[in-house]
Symmetry: C3
Subunit: 250 residues, 3 copies
Amino acid sequence: MRTSPGMTMVIDGGLPTGAFTDLITSHGDYIDLVKFGWGTALVTRDLDRKAGVLRDAAIGFYFGGTLFEHHLWTGRLDEYLDLVRRTGATHIEVSNGTIPLDQPGKAEHVRRMSQYRPVLSEVGYKDADRSARLTPAQWVEAMREDLDAGAFMVVTEARESGRSGIAQSDGHLRRDVLDAVIGNVDTERVMFEAPTKTLQVELITALGPDVNLGNIAAADVLGAETLRLGLRGDTLLHVATVPSGQSAGI
Amino acid sequence: MRTSPGMTMVIDGGLPTGAFTDLITSHGDYIDLVKFGWGTALVTRDLDRKAGVLRDAAIGFYFGGTLFEHHLWTGRLDEYLDLVRRTGATHIEVSNGTIPLDQPGKAEHVRRMSQYRPVLSEVGYKDADRSARLTPAQWVEAMREDLDAGAFMVVTEARESGRSGIAQSDGHLRRDVLDAVIGNVDTERVMFEAPTKTLQVELITALGPDVNLGNIAAADVLGAETLRLGLRGDTLLHVATVPSGQSAGI
Amino acid sequence: MRTSPGMTMVIDGGLPTGAFTDLITSHGDYIDLVKFGWGTALVTRDLDRKAGVLRDAAIGFYFGGTLFEHHLWTGRLDEYLDLVRRTGATHIEVSNGTIPLDQPGKAEHVRRMSQYRPVLSEVGYKDADRSARLTPAQWVEAMREDLDAGAFMVVTEARESGRSGIAQSDGHLRRDVLDAVIGNVDTERVMFEAPTKTLQVELITALGPDVNLGNIAAADVLGAETLRLGLRGDTLLHVATVPSGQSAGI
């Protein structure tokens, strides 16, 4: 059924193992990547079983950038890489959303981590005020720098709330940032965090059904797919097309 | 345990198959109808299994009005009716929440679709501003027209957010519309979409525990039932009664 | 993995039986108590099976204070105690969040109910305006009175929304109440209802990772645990420590 080549990354904020397996079994066709949100991996009893479910379904996975930051901040990156290897994580996320790591420092870690796995590099801060002070030009420059450093994709921060990073406090996209990104970065290499329907609709409307969407909640996997396909009111008139020469039967 | 004859319609926004089965097995006693929300049916891998679970539990089901609108808009109503027949859907929802179909045109489709299944006909638009411009008299007139056209029930739009249609942007009911409906339409034939606790409480308080409630989230099935029964703080003093001649032990 | 001695109480708002079992199996290590929210127990078909799952996992459980209030209000406390005995509930919650029961009257019920089970006694009202009128001194006095009456713990009301009781309508803690509680009550004997991440972060920041947290949603069990451990952006810099003599690798 799926026709869209746009990537869908689902965030797991701590599903029980049965629910996780049920999700992947039922909706795995619409999921390209799973992110074990922030540091949940360290308190997930059945992490190896979850990893196995994803391996069987040929779905990639990685750990939230906060786990990388936590290990960097506490001087234990070697333990982080051990975890990646042991679980078979397919990607690494590098970010500086919380700890005081500047952009050039982050790009350097993108370069280093790319030796081990394809890197998703996040741009934007978790703190709403700090993110709001980033100009469109700074967003573009950081994304280009990370891609030049070898990042597989760059990720625009929006948290789980959809009210920070590339999103405004009212939940809508920062259009100035979006326009700058569209004009200056290859959007096939950008994953837009879009945890809310508002953001999903605005991104699909602006970039088309193939936009890469991240931080999709487990409960919204089918919902996001229907938005891509014009099967929901919010995008029906944008995406669904009336066959030529028809009056649509109305 | 259930004493209320009021109907409860649950919206499935895309539950995995295991979770759906679990829901119906555990809480099926409190569910009269399931609506596969908007166009999710088309991206649900195990739709036939979900339909089977409902058949076994003697619970009716149908597809969201948006799926009807999508097929009407793209000139493929025959495919829509094929889907209804193949899955054994027990009802059809007719709506004009998104596409440019006027009220008389919708009533005509209510008439046609009633040949195939009992029809739930929705009144109100998904767009908040358009809905807000509908006067109470227009709501009543549309509901009567749809019932006259043969609708089994009419449904008052409130979306999944509870902030459009018969709901205001602040999440409360439009009292003017509710009062007009109560005064002019047989409310046993009205299904009020009530996806939030705020709306559920306001409707139960205004219409009593037997009001027909729709768009109840899977996670809220027991919650809505407790509201009907006065087993939650919001309705306890309205619904629960102190035996006469008792001081309630306080 | 868990190092925190702080209690975590999870509220079950009506999970299907399979989902409930999955939750306890996967995340039971991080759950100390389960509260069957408000009066959901009376409409839970498999209540005995849920109770059995908790017994096997050595997790305590009890019924929401509203169920106590409902039985008190309708003059049927004997039926309430029968339910406690039959299900093997390990605790009793006494509250006056909804019915007109004054503080001394509540303390008297704390005393009586303590004969049967350890009592969690709730302070604060479900109605936001009534709660807002309670002064910090009144919160402290009520908590002390309940503890003096034999309560095992006192619970600060915040509902499921986190916008009433000890929380303000904007979702943040009432700092005046929190400061008065910290200064005058043994916080090891206080369970703070904290159904939102905002409240969890503010409490962990103010009281440390061992604060007792209540009304944690099933979906947030791992999330709350990561906040305690500094594995989420919101608390990383507060809780996680850089080994001395290290530059944190940045």
